[in-house]
Amino acid sequence: MRARVRHEPAPGAALSAGRAPAPRRALAPCIALAAAVALALGAAPTPAQDFAAPEAPGAAPSPAAFLERALPAQHPSLAAEALVSHWYDVPGLTTRALALSAGWRTLRAAAGISRTGDPELGWSAAALALGVAGEGGGGALRAVVRRDAAPGALAVELGPGAGLEVGGGAWVDAGFGITLSASAPQVLVRGVGPPLARGLEIGALWVMDDLALRLARVSPRGGGGGAWHDATLALAAGPLTVWLGARDQPARGSLGLAARARALAVAGVVESHPLLGETVRLSIGLARLPEADLPP
């Protein structure tokens, strides 16, 4: 059975065009699978903050996801996305963001702005990502500048309440439907410390027909503490995609649903934390996709 493409698989090529795994790839399937599993073993969460979007495994990276993890989409597209995240059960802790992305040939770019939290704790962010991507892989750099809504008296080099983080990411098509990725969103951090310290995230995506499985491991920034594991399984059916996720530290699950009607895409995910409650993320986007990627 051939995989039917509904979305561009992200960020690699295995699902992106619905093509069967190409035997021309250098890695044998068993080696690639073993590598993916090995990469995913460890421990740590998949952190996200300003541009955390509901992402189904195998779906094309949305503009927000590109900004968040510096993993560019394989195919160029013009897309816009608005999203909102309500964090756990904390009143007022909500992120609203708007992101745009575009591509030309192998060049990829995205920009976005976001606002999180109330006037006392909150902050605003602006992000930019630039990269290249093609059939066999891609890579990008990202930068986010933030400014606290109520800067304290802390003196930092970028001005009161201001912070900067710069990072990058890359992915490679390992063949046989497997895509390997790595993202280090905070390689360089200056000014006020970010709301969440994020370390290196390495992941593996395996797409076969309508199923997609993503495994990820995120190391803590600076090496302190343990890593997180994340596993997500998605099933696509027509314009709908549903996915289930699991994460450790502490163990928790998520349930997501995405739908696309031509250029319009909506998605939502609920993550349940055993103590902190639920985090809900919603997004709505418009995208001009390559012909092959349009839904039937």
């Binding site: 740590a44 969460p45 998949t46 952190p47 996200a48 903050q49 964090w87 756990y88 059960d89 904390v90 007022g92 802790l93 939290g117 006392e120 704790l121 606290d148 109520a150 304290g152 802390l154 930092v156 912070g163 983080e165 951090v189 200056r190 000014g191 006020v192 410390g193 970010p194 709301p195 969440l196 310290a197 600076g222 503490g225 997180w228 994460r247 530290q249 502490p250 928790r252 993550e271 934390h273 103590l275 902190l276 409650g277 985090t279």
Partner: protein, 561 residues
């Protein structure tokens, strides 16, 4: 002149000591009435005996008696024939008719007629008078293994502080056990005067113990008829005064309205007028016409009117974290006070003395009196060691109420015994391990489950919602935040955990701890790098199935590492 040798000694002893007579048979007297006799032996003073021991002789005759050549010997009942000389009467030593002669140590009051260190042993032992003419008199006490150490059955051993006294003074019934008994020491005075009223030591008490300045009090005590004859109602008058700079200010005069038989006692209670604020000494004396002994007629009581210089502000009577018991006090005086000048006790009589602190305590400052200073510092390492005193001996505080609803009392006194403060507490409704603290409305469980030693009591204001963290923005590494909760149950167990924005637990700000409905805790923000964190309160009812969780956000400010 009696014959010499063992036979003569046997005859002499037989003349004065025939205590082994058959039941019902009249006993021969132990003492000769033609010469002075032993009236009192004080061999076991409270504490160190040295200088306090004495033997009192009484001359029952109508003519003076010479003591020249009289030997006073001490007998060691541990073995036979262990008599040692303690004193020998000189040519000038004599006793007037019906007079008394005291042989004793340098600390005997009034000074003895003959000063000597007697070094008498506690029973079973004996003293013996050996007259130049061979006549002897033996007074033995304690269970004796050898007949030579007593006349007839020996007297019972007496407790520390009591004399072995001949009561009445002329008793001569043929056995030490019949003639002598435990009695208050009365060197140089009658043991049993015809008329004698005594104020029983230690019975004076003021209720309330620490009256308010504008409040009267009731003084109570107990008097005993130590004379040989009964006292009629109204014969004994209790006279009270308060010591002042000019001497004494009369306080009351109260005639005891009941008759007191010989050997009996009676209680009295007198209302006093309000006393001036501060440390006062109440002096009480008894008046009785023909009182044979005035030495036992007086007593005094140190009292405090109004608050003392130290105030008890927090009590940890049931520690659950190994810090041992402790009591927090505050100097509410206008001048510095040294906690080492006070004693701490529970409802019992043992008083512990603070030691090891940093000297005088400034006005309004707090100090902690601890059972185990090291353990307290280990549990609360941020405390200033200079403000912690270890109290020894520590009187363990009770953890559960008695039938009166009181678990125990914490009693602070000045080192001279003047009351400073007494707090009687109930353990009812206090979660395990939680101290109690003084609040404007009274005593209650501490706002912090671990207590707030060296921190002032706080009035907990109501909070909006169930859980609050204030402030919401703190500087990394140097600041602290206050965790406050308000639960729907009177008693609960609470824990507070901190998560980062990705939901990963970073640290535990408060281990699961018993708490009351309203509680607070100072949280030193340590170990958190800059970022946004979620502080989660998890609480469950101690009785029942209720539980809740509440989350607040806090921003740790700091430059990126």
């Amino acid at each position: 002149m009696l014959p010499a040798g063992p036979l003569a000694l046997a005859l002499a002893l037989g003349a004065v000591c025939t205590a082994s007579a058959a039941p019902g048979q009249a006993l021969a007297p132990c003492s000769r009435i033609d010469r002075p006799i032993v009236a009192e032996v004080f061999y076991d003073a409270t504490g160190d005996d040295t200088g306090h021991e004495f033997v009192e002789l009484w001359n029952p005759g109508g003519a003076p008696a010479s003591l020249a050549g009289l030997r006073l010997e001490a007998g060691d009942g541990a073995g036979p024939s262990r008599w040692t000389l303690r004193w020998t009467g000189g040519a000038a030593d004599s006793i007037a008719a019906r007079g008394r002669f005291v042989i004793g140590g340098a600390l005997v009051e009034p000074p003895p007629d003959a000063q000597v260190s007697l070094d008498l042993q506690n029973g079973p032992d004996a003293v013996r008078l050996a007259w130049p003419d061979g006549v002897t008199e033996v007074v033995g006490y304690g269970t004796q293994a050898f007949a030579e150490y007593a006349c007839g059955e020996p007297a019972a051993d007496v407790p520390s502080g009591q004399s072995l006294a001949r009561v009445p003074d002329a008793s001569n019934r043929g056995a030490n056990a019949l003639d002598f008994r435990a009695w208050p020491p009365s060197p140089g005075r009658e043991n049993l005067p015809d008329r004698d009223v005594a104020l029983i030591p230690g019975t004076l008490a003021l209720d309330p113990e620490q009256p308010a300045p504008d409040q009267g009090a009731r003084l109570s005590g107990r008097v005993a008829n130590r004379g040989a004859t009964p006292l009629a109602a109204g014969e004994v008058t209790v006279i009270g005064a308060v010591a002042s700079a000019s001497g004494e200010d009369a306080l009351f005069s109260h005639a005891i309205p009941v008759a007191i038989a010989a050997g009996d006692s009676a209680a009295f209670e007198v209302a006093t007028r309000p006393l001036a604020t501060g440390k006062r000494t109440l002096r009480v004396r008894l008046a009785l016409a023909g009182d044979g002994s005035s030495a036992d007629d007086r007593d005094s009581l140190r009292v405090r009117v109004g608050p003392g210089p130290l105030e008890i502000t927090e009590i940890q009577f049931h520690p659950a974290s190994g810090e041992a018991e402790w009591v927090e006090v505050r100097n509410r005086d206008a001048v510095s006070v040294d906690p080492a000048d006070f004693t701490l006790a529970d409802r019992g009589s043992a008083r512990g003395v603070p030691d090891g602190g940093g000297g005088a305590l400034a006005p309004e400052s707090l100090a902690v009196l601890a059972q185990d200073r090291g353990a307290l510092l280990a549990r609360h390492p941020a405390l200033d060691p200079g403000r912690i005193w270890e109290v020894s001996p520590w009187s363990a505080l009770n953890n559960s109420d008695d039938s009166t609803g009181i678990a125990d009392a914490v009693v602070l006194r000045e080192s001279d015994g003047t009351p400073c403060e007494r707090v009687s507490y109930s353990a009812g409704g206090v979660p395990a391990g939680v101290p109690i603290e003084r609040r404007p409305g009274g005593w209650g469980p501490s706002s912090d489950p671990l207590g707030t030693p060296l921190s002032p009591p706080r009035a907990l204001a109501p909070i909006a919602g169930r859980f609050q963290v204030t402030p919401r923005r703190v500087r990394a590494g140097v600041a602290s935040a206050r965790l406050a909760w308000s639960l729907p149950w009177p008693r609960a167990r609470v824990a507070v955990e901190v998560y980062d924005l990705a939901g990963r637990r970073v640290l535990r700000a408060l281990p699961e701890t018993a708490s009351t409905a309203r509680g607070e805790r100072e949280w030193h923000v340590e170990g958190l790098s800059p970022g946004l964190y979620l502080v989660a309160l998890v609480a469950r009812a101690e009785d029942g199935d209720g539980s809740l969780r509440e989350t607040c956000a806090i921003r740790i400010e700091g430059a990126a590492p």
